[in-house]
Each structure stands twice: as structure tokens, then as C-alpha cells.
């Protein structure tokens, strides 16, 4: 269920602009890895290269290697569609399909591969909603539109939708930045629970959040304005926040810039 990701020498471009340069790292299974760093340093871009969502943007491209348990995601015989199936994603703004009910939202990914019986779908929907800590709140209104839920509930619905297809890895792009503190807490609890089964990668602006939920942290930064973003340092979260090896990391964590 849970796989390791190894990145080596990865560059990402928007047209001719290089957004990130020479990123190499290993992301361990059954753990939460957090990416922190100032705005525009390429954290989200890098996250999107991990499930080939980066190339959805016209003109965007990637050079380098991303291995999922040894298999290169960017090798020529791998389709982006199958990569995204294996590596799920949760976005900054909750984005349930507005025309679908809660049930249909969770089942949306399942339907793609077809031939899933009604009872099987029911089971997976329930399991996923429970997995996303949402089942008890909405179990009697599964046929209501997903857009009618609160922001935090919508985001958990999106998590349920992502885990319903049983991915190997779950990528989360600032999943709490549009949410209130209580909803944020619910999502953070959920991440701690989900890491038993999934490899989780989260981009966050919130240092406390990274410290609370993650096992390992990577700090991204720009060498200068207009330069590509790079990984400055990556380490166990506890060490990173108490005893960073780089001056820039310390400055950022202690709030001296960014």
C-alpha cells in the first residue's frame, strides 16, 4: 500500500523559466514528509512533479528522475494518468465536484476503472469517509451536494475521494490554508492516522503544522529572486526545528524572513 519515493536531479520548468533545480531526496513510506519554505520557492511545483500534475500546465516540463519503489514515473512507457492513479493529491482549496453528491464525489475515482458493483462501491465509500473522519457527520446526507458542506468538511471529502482509489502515496498541497483552526486540527489528526497506511507528503506555510504532523521536513529556498528554488536542507523534523545545520533554515524557522 505504501511506497518509497526517490527523487534525483530533478529540474522543473514553466516554459523557459526554471522553477526548481537539482532536487534530490528520498521520501519514506508510512511517514509524513513536510515541505516548508517561503512563497514562490517551488515547494508546490515540486509536489506536483511527484504525480505528474506539473505538466498539466501548458509549457511546463520536468527533467530528472522520480522513482516509486524503483520505477521511474517519467520513463517513456509510463502514462501520466496511471501515475496519478497511484499517487493521489489533495489541493489547497477544497474542490469537490459541484454537480455531484457527497457519495458520487467519493465514488468518482472508483468509477473510472469501471465494473465495481454497487455494494462494493457502497463499502468503499463508507470506508473512505470513515478513513477521512467524516462518516459520522454526513452519513445521513450522502445524496446531498458536496458543495453544501463546510470548508473543513469539503476538504475531508476531498481526502476521502483521494483515498477511495487506494493510492500508494498521498500528496497534500497546503491542505489547511483555506480552513479555520478547528478544521485544521481535524485534518492534522487525520494525517497522523493516515500515515499508518500511506506515504504522505504535505506542503505547508505553517511551521507549527510541519512540526506537529511531520516526521521529516525539507526546507526549500531561492538563491535569489528569479533564481530557481532548491532544497536547502532535509532532515528529521525534530532535529530540523531544534538544531538546523544551515543558517538559512534557522532564519526561516525562527521567523527572521519569509
Amino acid at each position: 500500500m505504501s511506497k518509497q519515493i526517490q527523487v534525483s536531479g530533478l529540474d522543473a520548468y514553466y516554459g523557459s523559466h526554471k522553477a526548481i533545480e537539482d532536487v534530490s531526496m528520498t521520501i519514506e513510506p508510512r511517514s509524513v514528509t513536510a515541505f516548508i519554505g517561503p512563497s514562490g520557492c517551488g515547494k508546490s511545483t515540486f509536489l506536483r512533479t511527484l504525480n505528474r500534475m506539473h505538466e498539466v500546465i501548458p509549457g511546463a516540463r520536468v527533467e530528472g528522475k522520480v522513482l516509486l519503489d524503483g520505477e521511474d514515473l517519467y520513463s517513456s512507457d509510463i502514462e501520466p494518468v496511471s501515475v496519478r492513479r497511484a499517487i493521489g493529491m489533495v489541493f489547497q482549496r477544497p474542490n469537490p465536484f459541484p454537480t455531484m453528491s457527497i457519495y458520487e464525489n467519493v465514488a468518482a475515482g472508483l468509477k473510472l476503472n469501471g465494473r465495481v458493483s454497487k455494494s462494493e462501491t457502497d463499502g468503499i465509500v463508507e470506508e473512505s469517509l470513515k478513513g477521512a473522519n467524516l462518516w459520522n457527520e454526513i452519513k445521513d446526507r450522502l445524496n446531498k451536494p458536496g458543495a453544501g458542506l463546510s470548508g473543513g468538511q469539503q476538504q475531508r471529502l476531498c481526502i476521502a475521494r483521494a483515498i477511495a482509489v487506494k493510492p500508494q502515496v498521498l500528496l497534500m498541497d497546503e491542505p489547511c490554508s483555506a480552513l479555520d483552526p478547528i478544521s485544521t486540527l481535524a485534518i492534522e489528526d487525520l494525517m497522523t492516522k493516515l500515515k499508518d497506511e500511506y506515504t504522505i507528503v504535505i506542503v505547508t506555510h505553517n511551521m507549527q503544522q510541519a512540526a506537529r504532523v511531520s516526521d521529516r521536513t525539507a526546507f526549500f529556498n531561492l538563491a535569489a529572486q528569479g533564481q530557481p528554488g532548491k532544497v536547502v536542507e532535509m532532515d528529521d523534523t525534530s532535529r530540523m526545528f531544534t538544531n538546523p545545520s544551515q543558517k538559512a533554515t534557522e532564519d526561516y524557522i525562527t521567523g527572521r524572513f519569509g
Binding site: 500534475m53 494518468v81 482549496r93 474542490n95 455531484m100 475521494r161
Partner: protein, 326 residues
């Protein structure tokens, strides 16, 4: 900064007081409001004068205006709208059936398939279709399309003649309902494509990304995130297209053979429409004949008005929905 704003025209009340004193405000406001009222007046006048000028002819009618097939207001003074209205509805419906799938495909092509740098110019190319005057489509239909359709018409009649639309004796192509419907389809395609393209482009990017991140192919993404969002827009676009097809005159006036019967056989030379009949019959009409044509125009006006109002209501509902979803 705030002081001059307050004293010299910031607050609505003071601004109104100040403007009442200035000489141009009243007349200007009156002119612009008046222009809007003139527009409403024109719409009302269309209804009033079509009705008033149709009444004498309708009183002279020796047949039933709504059920009679024959159109002889100049001679026997027996005339009815039935055959013409039937032809109008059938030809427009056919045009819609042909144009809508293609227009939706074109819209998707521009919004989601074409390379981004080409999408603009290619979209403009489709818009150009709408710029070609209708009389030129008529000429094209008459000189090119009608002869061109001969072989396919004969083939359809031979092999699929059991299907009522393709049935009939002595199919040799020529000026048929099918030829007119195809020309109408080409003429309404740009408007359906343009509106559909706009609503497809408005489909929320975050939902498209959600679908892709679930491992959807491009088509699956479109089905999950684009088409459901765009459906009301496409429906109202199709209805606007239908309204256009019904009112389209000159192209079909050149192509339809001007018969007065009810025939579903679209490959045989039986076709007419209210608008084509007005264009073809106006020159030789007696005063009663002209009144009869005005009466038929009134029917066309009412039908297109209903179709257009329906389309606007669908759009209006979509706007509310989009606002609620945002």
C-alpha cells in the same frame, strides 16, 4: 482628501443635490433612460403593428388559419399556417440535431484540445462562419450543396429507406428539406460553439485538476468536471441556435421548393418554412396576401420569442447556480 469628497460630491445625497443644479444632468439622464424606453417601445410596436395589419387578412380568410395546409391568400383566400409552421419546426430541429454535437466538439476542441497558441486563431476561424451573410450560404447551398447531396441522398434512400425520414419515392436529390437543414446547421453552428466554448472555459480549473489527480484521462476529466458544469450553457446555446434557425430566411428561401404539405421525407422535394414563404411570396402578394404574410410573421415572432425567452431563463438559472457554487 476626504473633505472635498464629502462637500463636493462624494456622498450620494450631496452628489444628487449638486447634479440637480448642473444644467446637463437632467437632459442627459432623460436621454439615456428614454433610449432604453424606445427599445422597449420598439418591441411592443412590433407586436402591435404585426397584429393590427394581420387582422384584415385573417378576417378575409376562408379557411382555418391554424390547421389549413394551403396558402392561397391571393386567389381563393384560403390560407393556413400548419404546413409552414411544420416545415419551420422540422427544418430547425434537424439543423439543431446536426449542429449541436459538432458545435460541442468544436467548443471542446478550442477549450481543451487545441494547442493553446492555436486556440485563439482557430476559434476566430469558427466565428468567421457567423460573419458570412446568409444570402451567400443560400447561393452556396443552391449551386454547390444541392448537387453535392444527390449521391448521398440516393444512397440513403436505397439503403435506409425504411427509416421514415429517408423514405419516399423518386429521390433524386435536389432542393430538399435535408439541404436546407444542413445550411441552417452551418449557420447556427458558430453561435452554439461560441457560447459552449465560453462555458467550457469557465469550468473551474480546480475541479479539472481534481479529476486529473484521481487518474482520469482527458475525456474522463471533461465528463467529470467540464460537461456537467457546462450543460445548462450548452442547452441555452442550442435553444438560441434553434431560434436563429427558425427565423433564418434568405438561405432557405433559395433552397426550399416552396411546397405546402406535411412531409417527414427529408430527401424528397417537400420543404418550406414561414420565413422562406414570406420572402418568396411577398413580391406577388395582393393586400390580403401581404396581410396573410404578416400574420405568419406574427406566428414566427411569437415562436422565436418563446424559444429565446426559454433560453434566457436557462442561462439565468445557470448564473444563480454558478454564484451558489462559487
Amino acid at each position: 482628501m476626504t473633505t472635498p469628497v464629502r462637500t463636493r460630491g462624494g456622498g450620494p445625497a450631496t452628489r444628487r443635490a449638486a447634479s440637480r443644479r448642473s444644467s446637463g444632468e437632467g437632459p442627459f439622464r432623460f436621454a439615456s433612460t428614454g433610449a432604453g424606453v424606445v427599445l422597449l417601445g420598439v418591441m411592443a410596436a412590433i407586436a402591435v403593428f404585426l397584429i393590427s395589419e394581420a387582422i384584415p387578412a385573417l378576417q378575409a380568410n376562408k379557411g382555418n388559419f391554424f390547421t389549413e395546409l394551403i396558402w392561397e391568400p391571393n386567389g381563393s383566400q384560403v390560407f393556413g399556417i400548419a404546413a409552414l409552421a411544420f416545415g419551420t419546426v422540422l427544418s430547425s430541429a434537424l439543423a439543431l440535431v446536426i449542429a449541436t454535437p459538432i458545435a460541442v466538439g468544436v467548443a471542446l476542441f478550442i477549450s481543451h484540445y487545441a494547442p493553446r497558441r492555436l486556440a485563439g486563431p482557430l476559434g476566430y476561424l469558427v466565428d468567421l462562419l457567423a460573419a458570412v451573410p446568409s444570402v451567400i450560404y443560400g447561393l452556396w447551398g443552391l449551386v454547390f450543396l444541392v448537387p453535392f447531396l444527390k449521391t448521398p441522398s440516393v444512397w440513403l434512400n436505397e439503403h435506409l429507406g425504411w427509416f421514415p425520414l429517408f423514405g419516399g419515392e423518386g429521390v433524386i436529390g435536389g432542393k430538399t428539406m435535408l439541404a436546407g437543414a444542413i445550411v441552417l446547421a452551418i449557420m447556427i453552428l458558430p453561435i452554439i460553439a461560441a457560447i459552449s466554448r465560453e462555458v467550457f472555459l469557465q469550468a473551474p480549473k480546480i475541479n479539472e485538476e481534481a479529476a486529473l489527480a484521481l487518474g482520469a484521462t482527458r475525456w474522463e476529466m471533461i465528463r467529470m468536471a467540464v460537461l456537467p458544469f457546462g450543460r445548462p450553457g450548452v442547452i441555452s446555446a442550442a435553444m438560441l441556435g434553434l431560434g436563429r434557425a427558425m427565423g433564418e430566411t434568405i438561405a432557405v428561401a433559395l433552397i426550399f421548393p416552396a411546397t405546402f404539405d406535411l412531409s417527414f421525407q427529408i430527401l424528397t422535394p417537400h420543404a418550406n418554412s414561414i420565413a422562406a414563404n414570406i420572402a418568396n411570396g411577398f413580391g406577388e402578394a395582393t393586400p390580403i396576401g401581404r396581410g396573410a404574410l404578416i400574420a405568419s410573421g406574427l406566428v414566427l415572432f411569437v415562436i422565436t420569442l418563446l424559444v429565446n425567452m426559454g433560453a434566457r431563463m436557462v442561462i439565468a438559472r445557470r448564473k444563480e447556480y454558478a454564484r451558489a457554487a462559487a
